[in-house]
Symmetry: C2
Subunit: 222 residues, 2 copies
DNA sequence: ACCTGAACACCGTTCAAGT
DNA sequence: ACCTGAACACCGTTCAAGT
């Protein structure tokens, strides 16, 4: 899985510089940040960026995969400490909060959640996806909650993922109509005011996830 | 409100050509369609497009305002024919379907629903908004449903609008991570396959709105 | 094996020159 | 009063030439 041969020293260094520049750029300008700019800030040629990360998505994945895995691992912790239903709610809250705070994360889950029916991790065309850890995590939590009778049985992992994704977008500040050219406008709002806006959005998220979970509760009860 | 002086004949004609070209382009390429291309297809210079529609959003509004008003008016019809709660559900379904079928509509509501707390129509900075008719429509339906005891009282119009927006995004095919450059990619999917995808998405929407409304039901009942 | 940076095709936006 | 289209600044992507 990892590269068979270690990278040449300069390549490895360039890769890291690119990643560092990308982290900053995505945080400041959003997931649409100029790739050319990232290459320049990293002090490498444009071609070098494409050699390491052939698509914007590849770069996004490289930047956020750690974060995604960290969120996925929280599922296990919460499952140990809370009853199944509460664990699911708590985890969805954390996932939603991550998506609100980090535009790149939202973008990644957006494109991962598009179309298709429920399918096992990595299925849907065998195309491996950096969001698979999230899929596996939610699948475990959902199954446990259903077996505990705290979640209706006619919803699947993908339903839950899609709904939280939608709810996060419904809460978010710089909500992503974001077509070409939005990145520059959003730049200002990205630097300052994020803390304030994210706070409000975080409260909303909690409320909305709560509402959603009442709807997802076992039929007839309550 | 309407222009004081009638437009010169050629201006009027150009405006209409631009609108016609924009309708086609937005339908085919999504809300990120090239403005330059729209001007070319309309057979006018780029400057003429900017004279009539200074921003992309202005063009989007001009293209979809009729559609938005039509959806808003459906609220009155449904309110007459159905009990308050059912009317709200039905209307939200229609709104969501519109957003699923029409990317431009989704983009418009996206940027209208961003940030801010509940506020009356047109409020939130006096900036008039083409989605105000939707706000007024949902406000009436929400109030009626609350007075009929069929909707919890701790949710506002904006909450409901945001949630439906989020749910529509959760359902949609070409779900809008859509940052710079996506327009061209989405072009293929925009032409064919939309009918098929929209059907699935429509079914999902109905399910999700249903789930949501169970969560939004009056507290404690059911 | 990897890097550089010029080159190409595109897009949004403005503005002098036209009618 | 309105239109045209060249001009400018940007961006993504590729690729020949370097080391």
């Amino acid at each position: 899985m990892a590269q068979v041969r270690p990278m040449r020293a300069d390549a490895r260094r360039n890769r890291e510089r690119l990643l560092a520049a990308a982290v900053e750029a995505f945080a400041a300008q959003g997931e649409g940040a100029s790739l050319d700019d990232i290459a320049k800030r990293a002090g490498v040629g444009a071609g070098t960026l494409y050699r390491h990360f052939p698509t914007r998505r590849a770069l996004l994945e490289a930047v956020y995969s750690d974060r995604i895995e960290a969120i996925a691992e929280r599922a296990g912790v919460l499952a140990e400490r809370l009853p199944a239903g509460a664990a699911l709610v708590a985890w969805l809250g954390e996932l939603g909060l991550g998506m609100i705070q980090t535009r790149g994360l939202r973008a990644l889950l957006s494109s991962s959640v598009r179309g298709g029916e429920d399918a096992g991790p990595g299925a849907g065309g065998s195309s491996s996806d950096c969001c698979d850890p999230l899929r596996r995590a939610v699948a475990r939590l959902v199954r446990a909650a259903q077996e505990a009778g705290e979640l209706r049985r006619d919803v699947g992992e993908t339903d839950v993922l899609r709904l939280v994704h939608g709810v996060a977008i419904a809460c978010g500040e710089a909500v992503g109509g974001g077509s070409a050219g939005d990145a520059r406008d959003a730049g200002n709002a990205g630097d300052a005011g994020d803390a304030e806006g994210a706070e409000d959005a975080g409260e909303r998220l909690r409320r909305y996830v709560g509402l959603l979970m009442e709807g997802l509760g076992p039929r007839g009860s309550r």
